[in-house]
């Protein structure tokens, strides 16, 4: 596939976003007007901009990354518009901001390359930790930056700009910095990590001493879980860490130990926190406490079931009956209005993106780039699996966003930056 094909596909996705908005307006009995044109314009500027930035600053990057992302964003935007035109208006600004950030990042990296991330790996870690701690700031006080508790969790930071407040979810940026640090750390320490292993049958067991960082990050994840009650981010960071350790060393023991610690931490959280307990109950049988804890999951299942094979049509279903439909449950909302066809299309887009991302990792000759690309791709894949799995009751629900689709500025900015980094990694590997 060529760069031109990428441009064509991005153009098609932009047209689909505008067409989706037109269908929603038509279904609502409104006249089709400015919203359609505005949506098309924003998508063309945002994705056309990223496309041009890749042409300029990462010309050898694979053209396979941008098209699935633009289509996911288009479907997600249509559904957000259907659920709340007001929020969709904000989302349009965020798409522009996120695209601008991605372009800027590509421009900055064009000078020094990804190596700069590797050089300043400890700074990356410190920034990540700092970002993760931000929501624990006091909710009240004179500071212009405050933490915000919502639904019993502290995932938000509020920047008081004087004339307006800006809400931000730092975990969405922190995950990138964290992966960047890990990839650099593991690439630098390769010899030490792969050297000493014991064997237990076919499984290579890391030396106990090697497990120390794993346990430290596990404890950190638990702290996030305890103090911020953010099950999703906690699980995402920890499992990404275990996966990258495994990728760097090939020791399946890390994955097994990581899995056991995650399950152990989960069970411990389950016994201690009733908000975790309620999620597990709602997962096992959402209809046992339908009116309360099971309501959201049950509504998601109702939405998907009612959507059936071909869906109700954009604007013709009732995804507004699902609580948090435009964030955590965007997949159920899409499934209701676009049917099984739409659900599988979304999953296929994610599969394409993962294939492209892992392709970059597998072809990279540089260890750091390879681990970095694998980590970034893994984060997107795991996040997708965790939230869609939660909606579909494959897993307990962890309140995180669906990449590229959910409503929310921090998630869009974070994931578009991630896209830019992957494009850069691809460019460096091919040139």
């Amino acid at each position: 596939m060529t760069r031109t094909a990428e441009a064509v596909l991005v153009g098609v996705a932009s047209a689909l976003a505008a067409f989706g908005v037109a269908l929603v307006e038509f279904a609502g009995g409104e006249t089709i007007g400015a919203q359609v044109g505005l949506t098309f314009l924003v998508f063309v500027i945002a994705f056309g901009g990223i496309h041009m930035a890749i042409r300029a600053w990462a010309p050898d990057a694979t053209p396979l990354l941008l098209p699935p992302v633009s289509l996911l964003a288009a479907i997600g935007f249509m559904e957000v518009y259907r659920l709340s035109p007001y929020r969709a208006g904000l989302q349009r600004w965020w798409i522009l901001i996120a695209a601008a950030a991605a372009c800027a990042l590509l421009a900055v990296l064009s000078r020094n390359g990804l190596g700069i991330l590797r050089r300043y790996r400890n700074l990356m870690l410190l920034t990540a930790v700092g970002l993760l701690l931000l929501p624990s700031l006091p909710s009240e006080g004179p500071l212009p930056i405050r933490g915000l508790a919502q639904n019993g969790s502290r995932l938000w930071v509020v920047f008081d700009l004087g004339f307006t407040e800006l809400h931000f979810q730092p975990a969405e940026i922190a995950k990138i910095l964290f992966v960047s640090f890990l990839a650099a750390y593991l690439a630098d320490r390769q010899a030490a990590l792969t050297g000493a292993h014991r064997r237990l049958g076919p499984i290579r067991i890391p030396e106990p001493r090697q497990l120390v960082p794993l346990v430290v990050v596990w404890a950190g994840s638990l702290l996030i879980l305890i103090y911020q009650r953010d099950l999703g981010a906690s699980l995402l960071l920890f499992l990404t860490f275990a996966a990258l350790l495994y990728a760097a060393t090939g020791a399946a023991g890390y994955l097994i130990a990581g899995g056991l610690l995650a399950v152990g931490g989960g069970v411990a959280a389950w016994t201690v926190f009733d908000h975790v307990q309620r999620r597990v109950t709602a997962w096992l049988d959402p209809f046992s406490d339908y009116a309360d804890t099971g309501f959201q999951v049950a509504q998601g299942l109702f939405a998907l079931g009612t959507g059936s094979l071909s869906g109700a049509g954009p604007g013709l279903g009732r995804p507004d009956l699902i609580p948090n439909a435009e964030t955590d449950f965007i997949f159920a909302a899409v499934g209701e209005e676009l049917g099984l066809a739409g659900s599988i299309a979304v999953l296929c887009c994610f599969a394409l993106f993962l294939a492209a991302g892992f392709g970059i990792a597998l072809r990279s000759r540089d260890r750091f780039r390879s681990l970095f690309a694998a980590g970034l791709t893994f984060v997107i894949g795991l996040q997708t699996f965790l939230i869609i799995g939660g909606v579909l009751r494959v897993l307990p629900l962890t309140g995180i966003t669906l990449p590229f689709m959910s409503y929310g500025g921090s998630a869009l900015v974070g994931n578009f930056l991630l896209l830019a980094l992957l494009a850069r990694a691809s460019h460096e590997e091919r040139s």
């Binding site: 996966a243 495994y246 990728a247 760097a248 060393t249 090939g250 209809f287 339908y290 049950a298 299942l301 109702f302 939405a303 998907l304 079931g305 009612t306 959507g307 059936s308 094979l309 279903g317 009732r318 009956l321 499934g335 049917g339 099984l340 659900s343 599988i344 999953l347 994610f350 599969a351 993962l354 294939a355 892992f358 990792a361 597998l362 260890r367 390879s370 681990l371 694998a374 791709t377 893994f378 894949g381 795991l382 997708t384 699996f385 869609i388 799995g389 579909l392 009751r393 494959v394």
Partner: protein, 485 residues
Amino acid sequence: MNGPIRRLAIGLFLGLAVLVGTVSWIQAIAADTYRSDPRNARQAIAQAGKERGLIVAADGTVLAESLPDEADSRQFMRVYPEGPVFAHTVGYTSSLVGDGGLEAAYVDELRSRRDLTFSDIVAAILGRDLRPRSIRLTLDADLQRAAFEALGDRSGAIVALDPSTGAVLAMVSRPSFDPASLEGAEAAENWQALLDDPDRPLADRATRELYPPGSTFKTVVAAAAVDVGVATSDTTFEDVRELPLPGSTATISNYGGSLCGDGTEVTLMRGFIRSCNTVFANLAMQVGAADLGIMAEALGFNRELEFPWDVAESNFPAEELEEDDAALAQSGLGERDVRATPLQMAMVAAAIANDGVVMQPYLVDEMFDADGDTVAETQPEELGRAMEPSTAETLEQMMERVVTEGTGTAATVPGVRVAGKTGTAQAGEGASYPWFVAYAPIESPAIALAVMFEPVPATGESDTGGRVAAPVAGELIAGWLENRR
């Protein structure tokens, strides 16, 4: 290093494959279950304002009807002319909370087939009738109204069956609500008020709530004893004021602490018509938990009953009682963990009336199309034989004497031979559940019923089945037989 990364990728792709499989299952195979779930308001919202078929009582009285909306000629309004009298059975249709009762169970039959769903389009192409269909219930409008009146302001339920077919003649639960109040501008407010009401008007006490059946359960114990040959109506028991329970310091005494007979010996017949607890505690232990369990289950306990909605499962915990004679003795009095719906106890009376054969209870007699032609008709169905005809005969003799000279004389209907059994289940704090199960006329039973009232605190010893529930049963039997003549 590429090996592990490749395996991580494969792991994630397998995860995505699981998601594709699960979402396919939810949206293709299980889709109908979720779509038609009564709690899924989507269908009710889509149906709001659309025409639905009629729901009529056995005599044609309209219970639910769609009338054209005066404001918008393409829209319809669902009206319930009988209001709260049939509310729990007929149900409601609400774009706020979905459908309930038969409106939910028969939504596919009642709805108009002009929705442009895929199956509707296929039906239209095939030239099928797209007009909504209607259902005729087995409920008798007069009997239902009389039963509703008879419960008065007190919480309770009445279920009346045709013993030979299982057709439900009346099914009332109080307090009730107006189904029409769940649609319209004040629906949300009304729904919240119903949820907040401590008397729980939305609860269907006839089929979806469980109660200790008290002494009405002695019919089941006596049937088991006679059927397995442990006792006949002439078998004698020691007449004591108090029966010590084995392996326990507790005792069982008769109502008011009295003797059952003259203080020496008492027959099963006398024990039954005077409802003596000492006799039945003894008898339950003699029959044993296993045989009691078999009889209870044959009559419908511990079984999922087929009904338009999920009926609460009446419970006789036979296995737990195997090793615990004290508990078994108390269970023989319909107390402890024995629980039944009023529908279940009506089925017990109906089975005795029907020579021991249990009929499947049903509410919908037939479905008819817009021209009034019958499309489908329910055929009475046997659930099985619970007891020998001779056992039913013995029970009938005992139950007749309950009404002529025992605890149930208040159910007497002049000129009609009535069989009945009282029950006064303890509710604690000096309150009780008055029960009465009955059928009549004995020569050719036409109606079997159960009457149950919820406890009223501190009503004490006077709130018995014989005093409170039996007269209601007698009145309803008299009215029903009168109307049929």
